[in-house]
Symmetry: C2
Subunit: 200 residues, 2 copies
């Protein structure tokens, strides 16, 4: 269909989340039709991102600067450290504009099934950051999934005795729900009503 070049493009597009084989074909045709207005700008945009964007060495956010704009912003509240699984979750919280502290991106969750242990996540770095002077509260904002909650419990155990308060997002995050799917209102409510972890 249209030669090896187009087929390779369709194959790669189909690996993007949200695009199946059929929409990947439509996307490829759209690119070809809108060569100047879409295809060439997209090549430039991806190349630009490939050349400039890296993971923030402090928090794990992705940005064209390191440290990222959030870590570099002195107006952000350095006493708060919000722990998320993924950059998509950080973006979701930023869109809700309810939180003005710093972040820590774990890079996933603990998962016995997928063989993900603490050493595969940025957990040691989190413990170290939580021990830095000025940090008063760690907000656990992992997903309300089994793995997300397991990870939150594990981090709670690791932080015990460190002197920082530990809180987690209030219910309002639906059971089994993923942060990145939530509307801003739900997310803001969950943030405002965050509670200390039981036992503290």
């Amino acid at each position: 269909m249209g030669g090896a070049e187009i087929e390779q493009l369709i194959r790669l597009l189909a690996r993007l989340p949200g695009l199946g084989p059929r929409s990947a074909r439509r996307a490829a045709l759209q690119l070809i039709k809108q060569r100047e207005a879409l295809m060439l700008p997209l090549v430039r945009a991806i190349t630009e991102v490939a050349e400039t964007v890296t993971a923030c060495s402090v928090c794990g956010n992705v940005d064209s600067r390191d440290p990222c704009v959030i870590c570099a912003d002195q107006r952000r509240d350095g006493s708060l450290l919000c722990v998320v699984e993924d950059v998509a979750d950080l973006w979701a919280i930023e869109r809700s504009a309810v939180y003005r502290g710093r972040y820590h991106v774990l890079g996933g969750t603990l998962s016995a099934l997928d063989g993900v242990g603490p050493e595969d996540l940025k957990i040691d770095q989190l413990i170290a950051r939580a021990a830095e002077p000025g940090v008063e509260e760690v907000v656990l904002a992992t997903n309300a999934t089994v793995d997300g909650q397991t990870t939150a419990h594990y981090i709670t155990d690791r932080l015990e005795g460190s002197g920082v308060r530990i809180s987690r997002l209030a219910s309002g995050v639906p059971v089994g729900g993923e942060l990145d799917y939530l509307d801003d209102g739900t997310l803001s409510a969950a943030f405002r009503t965050r509670r200390p972890v039981a036992g503290e």
Copy 2:
């Protein structure tokens, strides 16, 4: 969110069919995470397509050769000319492997609403191709929409007296389709064009 470069990438990705703002954000993150396995290959694939792929000057298909592989394939039946609105339709028919003739891509449909007239489509070229020696039948495979059918009628009028046979795809119940789920238009079309059962 992650700087101007990422935001521009998300904006462009969101213009692909099938990707909304949210899935564009996820796609951008996926690209950043899979830099070597996905982002750089995608840049190469789009660049390759941008450099090699053009519209076939004969039929309007997109390919890295001109004439396209279908037009260049001497084993295809040159007596049949299948008229489609769009390259996506040509691809769909090719996937079905039911047709072994040549194609003609109109580049859209007539549309009073969108101000698309015959001069905006490859209709003159179609009339010229239909008059070439060896062409015996024009198969109208425009969509079963109002605009698609209007376009088919217009082409039928233009081809009158040219000596080629004109046919159109049968309309009816899709294979595997349940009557109860069909819209009324499809059902009445299927009734009107009902055919004697083989053997009757």
